[in-house]
């Protein structure tokens, strides 16, 4: 069939870490020369909340994202913060929203997104998520690829997503830095960046790096080649870190972007987000982290996490998982729908389970994915409440993104990132009615004026109308 009349289809699928990919381009090493830039301030967030006015939700049902459930409670937001939660709050002069029979949850957070780096439409010119030109590209930053007009952001917002972590893809052993964003429409990346959120470093185990580079007859082409690649890089990073710590600045090494990132991990400033499916590979990565004295924050995709649930709980490592994806590759063969629940319940319920998407459709329905995972866990014999399962898409991903102090739960003093749902947030029939980010209405189901339409969406099909109405 290869010699038939038409060339292969042009439809580039959006490449998450689950998909196959094939890149055949390369360009020169672009590591920059030494610079005196203050590392911490480069590309810093310039985010400023949208204007908001105080808002009082009356008679709401609330999941606080920490396991708590409050029926018929009031919630007061002001100056972008959560001010008060109580059975009967009065606040004269404040806008009151009747939330009777509705539910309020923290804003949904996705710890694994490629929005903006694999934007829609998924064409080659928007394929900016995998610097698949070398197995170690710790020097690249996902935020430097981000397209602010990706129409997927607004779709995720309609699904209640107020913050998301954008990672590079999984072609490489070290894919580069990830960053966390508020789901706000802005024309610069810095204006979307979640203030104060740490960077992450994306690492990838298993099939993807060995396939991408093995196909090019270069290392790594095996899982042992993957391990050798990580260790070699960490040895260099440890030497670099020692060098950078020298008192005499003249004896410090020339600045190296990749090594800066690895040093950030060794110094505990950059969080490891590790794409890894198989149980023994995750255990191997834990050994690796001990050899070089760094911490793994979360394993992602982790289809076999349930096999080492106790180990992950003991090590304090989160597992960011799908509810039911499987079969698309060999390391995703042993799927169990109770995976998330088993992680959650490990070691007397001390596990850290996260429902993630890695997918522009999935990110819009993380509540439904959590519902499936909870039901599967309960069928497997656990007793997991909805209030508890809400943690999987709010406070737990906030913890793994390093932003739990600011968001991820409904607690006094936290950012007013909240969602008002039309009904039970675990039901397929419920929709996000209002989505607030720092107390400002970012989406309102009933008000077309408060539904973001990106530049891309504007008049793209017919000049008189927008893509999404």
């Amino acid at each position: 069939m290869n010699n038939k009349l038409l060339l292969p289809l042009m439809l580039f699928t959006i490449i998450g870490c689950s998909e196959g990919f094939n890149f055949e381009f390369s360009f020169g090493d672009s590591k920059s020369e030494s610079s005196n830039l203050e590392i911490d301030n480069a590309f810093a967030s310039t985010y400023a909340p949208m204007n908001s006015e105080p808002m009082l939700f009356k008679s709401a049902n609330i999941y606080d994202g920490l396991g708590g459930e409050f029926r018929n409670y009031d919630l007061l937001l002001s100056e972008g913060k959560i001010i008060e939660i109580g059975e009967s709050i009065t606040a004269p002069g404040v806008m009151v929203i009747d939330a009777t029979d509705k539910w309020i949850t923290p804003g949904i957070i996705d710890i694994h997104s490629h929005m903006g780096v694999y934007s829609a439409p998924g064409v080659s010119t928007s394929s900016d998520g995998n610097e698949a030109t070398s197995p170690v590209t710790a020097e690249v930053w996902a935020e430097h690829s981000l397209w602010t007009q990706d129409p997927q952001f607004a779709l995720a917002l309609k699904g209640g997503v107020t913050a998301f972590h954008v990672l590079p893809g999984s072609a490489n052993l070290f894919g580069g830095r990830g960053a966390t964003f508020k789901n706000v429409s802005q024309n610069t990346v810095q204006a979307m960046k979640f203030p104060g959120a740490p960077h992450s470093l994306k690492m990838a185990c298993g099939e993807n790096p060995k396939r991408v580079y093995g196909n090019r007859r270069q290392a790594p082409s095996t899982r042992m080649g993957n391990m050798a690649g990580y260790r070699t890089a960490w040895i260099e990073a440890a030497e670099y870190t020692d060098g950078m710590n020298k008192k005499d600045s003249d004896r410090r090494p020339t600045r190296d972007l990749a090594m800066d990132t690895l040093m950030g991990v060794l110094n505990g400033e950059i969080l490891i987000q590790n794409h890894c499916y198989r149980a023994e590979e995750m255990a191997m990565m834990i050994e690796l982290s001990k050899e070089f004295n760094y911490k793994i924050t979360a394993f992602h995709h982790a289809v076999e996490a349930y096999k080492i649930a106790d180990l992950l709980a003991e090590e304090g490592i989160c597992a960011a998982l799908w509810a039911d994806w499987w079969g698309f590759k060999h390391e995703a063969y042993d799927m169990v729908q109770a995976n998330i629940a088993i992680i959650d319940q490990a070691r007397n319920g001390s596990g850290c389970a996260i429902v993630h998407s890695d997918d522009a459709v999935g990110i819009q329905h993380l509540n439904q994915e959590a519902a499936k995972a909870m039901a599967a866990g309960n069928r497997a014999g656990f007793e997991i409440s909805k209030a508890h399962a809400m943690r999987w898409i709010t406070s737990n991903p906030a913890k793994a993104a390093g932003i739990l102090d600011q968001t991820g739960s409904i607690e006094i003093g936290k950012d007013a990132d909240v969602v008002l749902w039309t009904g039970d947030p675990f039901s397929v029939y419920s929709r996000a009615e209002k989505v607030l980010i720092d107390g400002a209405l970012a989406f309102d189901m009933n008000n077309p004026k408060i539904q973001p339409i990106t530049d891309f969406d504007l008049g793209i099909i017919q000049p008189q109308a927008n893509r999404v109405q």
């Binding site: 009349l5 590759k329 169990v336 499936k372 497997a380």
Partner: protein, 414 residues
Amino acid sequence: MKKLFTTLFLLFLTAPVISETVLLKGGLVHSGNGGAAIIQDILISENTIVSVGNNLIIDGNTRVIEVNGLPVTPGLISPMSNLGIVEINSLDVTRDDESELLSAGFSIFNAFNPHSTGIPWNRSNGVTSAISTPSETSFPIFGLGSHFILDGSLEIKGSQDIAMFGRLGASYGSRAETLSLLESLLDIGKLANSMPVEEILELKIADQLELQAQDIIALGKVVNEDMPLVIETNRAVDILQALAMKQKYDLNLVLESVEEAPMVLDQIKASNTPVIIDPMDNIPNSFDELGSSLDLGKMLDQARIPIMFSTQRSHNYHLMRQGSGNAVAHGMSYETAIKGMTQTVAQTFNLDNRGSIEPGKLADIIVWDGDPLEPASFPKIVMIEGKLQDLSSRSSKLTERYTNTENKPSSYKH
């Protein structure tokens, strides 16, 4: 509810899975024909539904299963799957959905593996039969899909080569070329009515298109024998082109994906063309589908266009429940959702004896533990042709192994 489960479990332990007379008593029955659900009994004898109603007369040998108001639907039918022909997508050696030699006439029927792990998984999630299809190729027609009964029996059960699958849309070449290629193929199908295949094979055009005898015979069935032709297409004008082709060649056309259908509802409706959609795919993944939205299901439903459901994710065809549930959340009717997973598929693909809970139909029936459109719901009973099915799967085995707290290496927990 827990009690029912225990009862059923005991039934499995004590009774061999054989056909007999069974009464499913007091379920909230969604017949699949588009009507509202009502509490009814279903009497099944051997492999067939005998009667549906209240106060049905039964004899002493009838096994009565109390359903206690739980929702009951026909077994779900996936209109487009890779069940039984793809084990692991990234491993070509586990895939039987592509042909190097054939195009329109490529049949996957004999490649079907009833032991593929996807089958018990989908069955335990409520999918009792599925149409499996060849994968997309660079050619606009990929081949023939077959319908398979997912009861795991080694003897392949189903209907061979019931529909042809193809695609119209963006490629490296111009879609104008794709259209003319499709027309050339259909012209050859027309010729197959009046000319022996051997003579068609000698035509220059057949040679240029690298057609084999099987391809020509299959194209003849699409043009002359009303075999459904399923065309994946999204852009509004492409949908119109496909409808024009339907009219020109008098095709039994089914459109798939149709993300820009809301712009051409009247034309689709006027042509009596059923559609297969993934209601959750609202991403403008390509410049062909800029009009995609979560309102697709509602718009098609309001135009009374017959709807069926596919899912974006391979291996989980039961997720059409979640997809159609989301469509209902955005305005499609509940009955259309149930019908779209059952009777509409049967009617579209001429699976005459399935797809609804009515006397005379084969007893493919699911009893659910909750609303079948809620993603958290799960089957309590799966019946295929009157036989109660085991709900275990490789996935359930792994779950049991790793939730078993016995202090032994996992390999000893089974």
